[in-house]
Symmetry: C2
Subunit: 398 residues, 2 copies
Amino acid sequence: MDYFFSDRISGLKPSAIREILKYGSDPKMIGFSAGNPAPESFPVSEMKEISAEIFDTMASSALQYGITEGYTPLREKVKSRLITKFNSVSEDDEVIITSGGQQGLELACKVLCNEGDTVLCEDPSFIGALNAFRSYNVNLVGVKTDSEGIIISELEAALKREKKVRFLYTIPTFHNPTGKTLSLERRRAIYELACKYNIIILEDNPYGELRFKGKDVPTLKSMDKEGRVIYCGSFSKILSAGIRLGFVSANKALVSKMTVAKQVSDVHTNQFFQILADKYLEKYDLDAHIAKIRELYLKKATLMRNGLLESSKDILDKVNYTDPEGGLFMWAELPKGFDVIKLSQNLLARCVAIVPGVAFAADPSLPVSAFRLNYSTPSDEQIVNGTRIVVEEIAKLL
Amino acid sequence: MDYFFSDRISGLKPSAIREILKYGSDPKMIGFSAGNPAPESFPVSEMKEISAEIFDTMASSALQYGITEGYTPLREKVKSRLITKFNSVSEDDEVIITSGGQQGLELACKVLCNEGDTVLCEDPSFIGALNAFRSYNVNLVGVKTDSEGIIISELEAALKREKKVRFLYTIPTFHNPTGKTLSLERRRAIYELACKYNIIILEDNPYGELRFKGKDVPTLKSMDKEGRVIYCGSFSKILSAGIRLGFVSANKALVSKMTVAKQVSDVHTNQFFQILADKYLEKYDLDAHIAKIRELYLKKATLMRNGLLESSKDILDKVNYTDPEGGLFMWAELPKGFDVIKLSQNLLARCVAIVPGVAFAADPSLPVSAFRLNYSTPSDEQIVNGTRIVVEEIAKLL
């Protein structure tokens, strides 16, 4: 039969990153294209121990249906941690456990937007979020960014210009794909504009724990006096990505609607690993574990940046690499008109995978002369060899 | 701030069952209201053993991001099993792993329906599915059922009457909430009507493996020559509900769109338990395990039905209990106008929880003089005592 598909899904293409990730799983390939945490970031022996304990002492609840909001002891611990680390739970807030950070973004859009309503985002931004919003047929509008992140005057112009703006999606800390961190001043300005134009801020902070240099900047949620910030976090980069464990902190009324939406989506998040995460937080020192991940990523990020800069000596006037203070990503910017698609094809032929910047564009019909590099997944040796190859191929096309 | 919520979510109430389930977790309560599998249905020691093996031999892939379609070896095994047991994968079909059976239903609606399009369902039907469809603002239309299930002439009348009918949602085997199984003749008639009116059938079969008496009836999917049946299944009732593991078998084109929708929803299903399920299927005899669950549920269903019939001797002209051949549920029908809400309140006061039939109605504004009983969760003693109390309270209100 000929199929009819909904408008919301007809235009949605499989994520370009996911397609490129297929190359990343090829062991011969140097995978700068992934967004995977380093395997060393999983506390395997601790998780194994807790897992055996759960099977021995509470299997029948860990394998049974749970409540949609999430395993209560884990919600309490996440709440405490969010208060201590990010000041991101206020008195009228509630925490819900989600199936990865991704689900928080999708649920937020589902409950906040009718089709045709406007969502603002940084341009470029995380493709998984953009596609989640597109899947609800919203009017997705990118706001221009500069070397420091979202440009405040552009944000206000969009707020004035666009109709029915429901929320701004932002990754203020260790941005994906650029690795940039937004200054305190710009964060304050964003919050003020959100109040002035009465919109919600969807603050995505999956990398916030991974600062390896510089100083923490307060979250947007920490400035929130009006319950207008929905804060999304994740265990993917600090415990395990494959277990799909994330969380949302937001005003009770918002969490209540997101809970209803989650109930019809997957009833609840994997109960066994909710309990496992809870016991991990109880028995082990997550901060000590994170300190090791930070050290590892500092090393890898430094290796990548130095490799890039060194090989780029002769073209440094034409290429710019961001200098992330945390997270997983670096962003390479090239002169306008540079053919990044051609570059990525040439690199694939030499067994190096990158993600062309257009994959992160709010409007993918416009060219983007930049690409994303990930340093958490490849080995040190791959970083050294891969950066050299990347720059060689850039130079050929300049 | 005052929140704006999308139309699709504004009208959606938390599931009445979930609310009633809160009582179910009270240990003093006799919980006939749940939909939980018996804890004995979880192969705990086998799962523990496999879990340790995964941590020892393949932790870094089990805890890492996976692909949206699901863990390939598991998809292959599910496919083989679906072919052998239910003849429900054809040549042009593909299998995708979902985060519980629920996610398959939600994704199907998301990709098939624009807002305002029509979805047909049996009336009554599974509340989780109905709410998933409602959350996409569809025109949800219930089709009348009789003692054998959906009435074919009513289905055709709805197909003639309603506009933009995209699919029929049906649970033909061990229906939730009624426990009824649709005859082969009616299944054939449904498939013919689907062809005639060019609609998709969304066949939900989470209980299909749990037949404890009578003979298997072919699935609708097994009749499918045109790729118009989307078949949803689940590991919840045969392995574990808490791990949220389900699957969909459908034409490649449909699965491809559902994969895009799943990607933006939760990226992929918990990777660790996908691998665990795969290894369980490889190392153990799932059929032997299911045989034990069937025996258990036959015992519990018989105990419940006998308890109800015995206590109801004096009112058997006024009450009817279905006689399920498998699954988890029994359905009690009472004379028109009987106050089931009052009954369920009176029962709660006596520490027995049931689910009023109205919770499963396509149109919850109409009264339903029936209620659902679950026999998989309560202990044998609770079944004996609980059924006596249920009938005592029915008699008082007759």
